[in-house]
Amino acid sequence: MAAAFDEMKGHDGDQVRPAYGELAQWLKEVPPDVLDYRRREAELIFRRIGITFAVYGEADATERLIPFDVIPRIMAASEWRFLEKGLTQRVNALNLFIKDVYGAREILRAGIIPEDLVFRNPAFRPEMNGQRVPHDIYVHIAGIDIIRVDADTFYVLEDNARTPSGVSYMLENREIMMRLFPELFSRHRIAPVENYPDELLASLKSVAPLTTSKEPTVVLLTPGVFNSAYYEHSFLADKLGVELVEGRDLFVKDEVVYMRTTQGPQRVDVIYRRVDDDFIDPLTFRADSILGVPGLMSAYAAGNVTLANAVGTGIADDKAVYSFMPAIVKFYLGEEPLLKNVPTWRCREEEHLKYVLDHLPELVVKEVHGSGGYGMLIGPTASKIAIEQFRAKLKAEPKNFIAQPTLALSTSPTCVEEGVAPRHVDLRPFVLTGRNGVRIVPGGLTRVALKKGSLVVNSSQGGGTKDTWVLDS
């Protein structure tokens, strides 16, 4: 594996890239103890905010603090413009794909995607067949995971089209950076992200059911305090100025959704739901769910309430469907995809499987429905025994796996024990789609693998986060 591309110093490492000019200069000027002091200060502030986050984890409170790195990840305006175009294209294609899958199914008839990959997919929701949603938008909020391998090449690693999380970190990280490093901000022109909640609310309101006559009532539906993302749910509800509801706060009568308020039942038009499909309506999906609202799907089918994201969007972010994304973009938009897909071998196909089995030590193998960095094999760093064990698993259920080459994620300067050193990063921008099109606040959540050489950025596996700066000019 070749040396990774560094966001600050490029491939060769001898020249600072323009976007990082000021930061590199500042890093040279700032005494190490000042940096260290700020780092500890950031940790303190975070622990304070984090306390409110961590206590939800009860006993293992401290483990719930996700490490924060004080050195920002910076993108030039031109880089962002490119990403923005690519993300817009991708999310438009995702929406058209889902509409098609639950509607005319042209892409299946054209033989571009094998039928069983859709119909036998656990994320496929037959309940959505023929169901129209306002303005044909299914994925209102997408978190697209992007990695970079050189100056001009960005890959999409994953499309998160169900209930992507992490946006509260994007907002809190910026807040903390502005508090800690005002002088750095005055040396840059950084595009703001704090309008995200406003944009989100506008997007949600714009997709209210067509029958909504007055100002639509929006709520955020959370599984409750025991959910690991509860802090984010309450944070967002607060910023949006909408009620944070649990399933038991809502009820359905005559195919209309109401929330129980101190002034009696109040009609609900748009539900930003952070509850998975499986749990959202015990009458339709898992009967043992106490997180959902009985009858919600009937109100949804009647077109009296909008769910964001729509039910059944999981069909689009499945890792096996992912491998078809370039074809999906071309099919619906007639354009070449701007953002590349990581080359993917689908182990369900015999030839692909053979290649994967022959090259296991070089590849990353993932479960089709897995997430959070669990259940995957990273060939180059895995022991021989681990590889052989994985080989057995793979042979037993090949259709559960896909494989990808081990990509050298770009690195970004990061504050670690031994000082400032490069660490691998990815980026999750949040893409909003409403009636008036796609909006993306310039930035996103940069996740960083704090362990030297590690390529896994997931917080559950020792990853941290950084503020992401998009330069304005």
């Binding site: 409110t52 206590v55 305090v225 309450s234 944070l244 038991r248 929330m259 129980r260 101190t262």
Partner: protein, 313 residues
């Protein structure tokens, strides 16, 4: 606002208030039981504390004897008692966590800090001194929470529901003390002014933090009928039944004003307030103090039900 949110705010306040009340009872009992028998008689103060806390049934299921050790454990630290100080703080925080966004940062800090600190006391005190410190800490925690709510909350329905919780609980607590101790306050009690009763009356006043207030209001030595008057009818005393109902009516009116609608809760509360305003101690004694108190407790519970039905479901 969401009914669940209002419900959580209401109970958050009730539980904090209840914890403080329990601490006061325990404090007063500790003082009484420290006195020589000649001053307090042979009555079992610890049993009386369990009665006043309203959890005698649960207590005697677990223990045969009401002594200092058992009662302190049950009222302060027991997890088996859903109304122990520990359980109250845990329930309060549980409610707070569920409505995190409806609280101000200060309120959250206060209740969350209390909950975190509670762990420091473990399963009970190792000495009387430590237990006294614990009781003081409980009262301070409640004061801090109450103060943070009073000083930082937006004056809207969220605030009014949280105040309602405070006063409903407070009225209930004061009534409960009167219910258990009413026999000491009857004017025809023969030993009026005897040392035995003096300390009992002082203890009653202490459990509603009104010992100093008594002297300021009456400028007289302790007289049982005046103690009853203070706890029942005096608007000036923040823990009197009358004062609690003044506040309950005021907060319910605020809610009715904001919602543009009166309901059963408002009517019932106003009815009780009017009755308290029109009462004189003489009349109450004539009709029977105990009957009056029992009736009050029933009515207060009925109002709690009406509030729940009208707003919290």
């Amino acid at each position: 606002m969401l009914s669940r949110t209002a419900d959580n705010l209401y109970w958050l306040s009730r539980y904090v208030e209840r914890a403080e009340y329990l601490a006061r009872i325990l404090d007063a009992t500790q003082r009484l039981s420290a006195l020589p028998l000649a001053y307090v008689g042979a009555s079992n103060e610890w049993e009386s504390a369990v009665l006043t806390a309203g959890c005698a049934t649960g207590f005697f299921k677990l223990y045969d004897e009401a002594n200092e050790e058992n009662v302190t454990d049950y009222l302060a630290f027991s997890t088996a008692n859903s109304s122990s100080i520990r359980s109250c703080f845990e329930a309060a925080r549980h409610n707070a966590r569920a409505v995190r966004t409806a609280l101000t940062m200060e309120m959250w800090d206060s209740i969350n800090g209390t909950w975190l600190e509670l762990k420091r006391y473990g399963n009970g005190p190792t000495s009387r001194e430590e237990f006294s410190r614990f009781l003081r800490w409980v009262q301070e925690s409640s004061l801090r929470f109450d103060g943070s709510a009073y000083r930082t909350m937006l004056r809207s329905d969220a605030y009014w529901f949280s105040r309602l919780g405070v006063y409903m609980e407070r009225a209930d607590n004061t009534a409960r003390i009167l219910d258990v101790k009413y026999h000491l306050l009857l004017p025809d009690n023969e030993r009026v002014g005897g040392p035995l009763d003096y300390f009992q009356w002082a203890a009653i006043l202490r459990s509603v933090s009104a010992l100093t207030a008594y002297h300021w209001v009456y400028r007289d030595s302790l007289k049982p009928w005046l103690v009853a008057d203070l706890l029942i009818l005096k608007d000036e005393l923040p823990r009197s039944l009358s004062s609690c109902y003044e506040a309950i009516v005021r907060n319910l009116d605020q809610i009715a004003g904001a919602y543009g609608r009166q309901g059963a809760a408002q009517r019932q509360a106003r009815g009780m307030r009017t009755r308290l305003q029109n009462s004189k101690m003489d009349g109450i004694f004539q009709r029977g103090l105990h009957e009056f108190i029992s009736e009050f407790i029933t009515e207060n519970n009925r109002l709690g039900g009406a509030i729940t039905e009208q707003f919290l479901l």
